[in-house]
């Protein structure tokens, strides 16, 4: 793994950890080999475009059961009363906050950055040919991933 990916990994891991702890009261840690843990769950997906100053995309993919657990705690709801709308709204807001934290790290202090509105349940919004890096995390023994794509966006991590 090169320096660029290490730095980006550090920034994303920090943003993900803080966001889940502050919003979902859940401690998460990074995992290296998640294959066996991610394939049995139905996965929910949210994507968000970074418009300025470095175009790119961020995606959060998480198991339905993890989002349901977080929603139960946050909204004080029973599991059977949690609908898809709530789960996707939660996923989108988590991604929105993670994106804000990442951009705060990689954008110069006095510079402007602009994010799109999160979209849920969609395929990747970015150019299919763009460079992509993906990192996996464990929250309450459930694995989820955060991916970043876009050449300019990923390259910025080298200089921040």
């Amino acid at each position: 793994m090169n320096y660029k990916k290490n730095r980006l990994q550090e920034i994303i891991a920090s943003a993900v950890g803080e966001t889940f702890e502050e919003m979902a009261f859940l401690e998460v840690c990074q995992v290296e080999d998640p294959d066996e843990l991610m394939d049995e769950e139905s996965l929910l997906r949210a994507s968000l475009l970074v418009h300025d100053p470095f175009p790119g995309e961020l995606c959060l993919v998480a198991p339905r059961s993890l989002m349901a657990d977080v929603a139960m705690g946050l909204f004080s709801l029973e599991k059977e009363n949690i609908d898809d709308l709530t789960l996707f709204d939660l996923l989108a807001e988590l991604l929105n906050t993670i994106a804000g934290k990442i951009m705060n790290q990689i954008t110069p202090q006095d510079a402007t950055f602009r994010l799109g509105l999160p979209e849920t349940g969609v395929e990747s919004l970015a150019d299919a040919g763009a460079q992509t890096v993906e990192f996996y995390f464990d929250g309450d023994e459930k694995v989820f991933s955060v991916a970043a794509s876009g050449d300019a966006f990923i390259a910025q991590a080298e200089f921040c």
Partner: protein, 142 residues
């Protein structure tokens, strides 16, 4: 009892702000909610609010336009408005502060961040603090 209007297109974000406000001292407040600036303006025509906490980036009517309407109306211009954003734009932040916003906070908000920006409102909400203030006044007058 304080009445707080929370404006955000995300139900999750509204809940997070509500929890933070409760921890920051608004435990007994009545919370009103709206999904965008337009809904919030409609609500403010019918309901009183002592504080507004609004997202900046929303569909239908964004936080900046909503703030402009709130500060432009004699009925609502005194209501403190705290803006929240996941993006960063120093020029826009200065602009909304010049327009009369009390503070601009980054997401996710925390009770500490809110307490720092709306400390005066929180103090009058705390019954213990109110009780102490009354005791102090009594001692001073004696």
């Amino acid at each position: 009892m304080k009445r707080v209007l929370i404006v955000d297109d995300s139900n999750t974000a509204r809940m997070v702000v509500k929890r933070c406000l409760e921890i920051a001292g608004f435990m007994d407040a009545t919370f009103l909610e709206a999904a965008n600036g337009k809904e919030a303006l409609t609500l403010l025509k019918q309901e009183r609010a002592d504080l507004v906490v609004t997202d900046l980036n929303m569909p239908v009517m964004d936080g900046e336009t909503f703030l402009k309407w709130v500060k432009g109306s004699p009925k609502t211009h005194d209501i403190p408005v705290v803006m929240i954003s996941s993006a960063r734009n120093p020029a826009k932040e200065k602009q909304v502060l010049d327009m009369g916003a009390l503070a601009v906070l980054g997401k996710p908000v925390s009770p500490e961040m809110l307490r720092e920006s709306i400390g005066d409102l929180v103090e009058t909400e705390d019954p213990w603090a109110q009780g102490m203030a009354v005791e102090d006044e009594k001692e001073e007058s004696e």
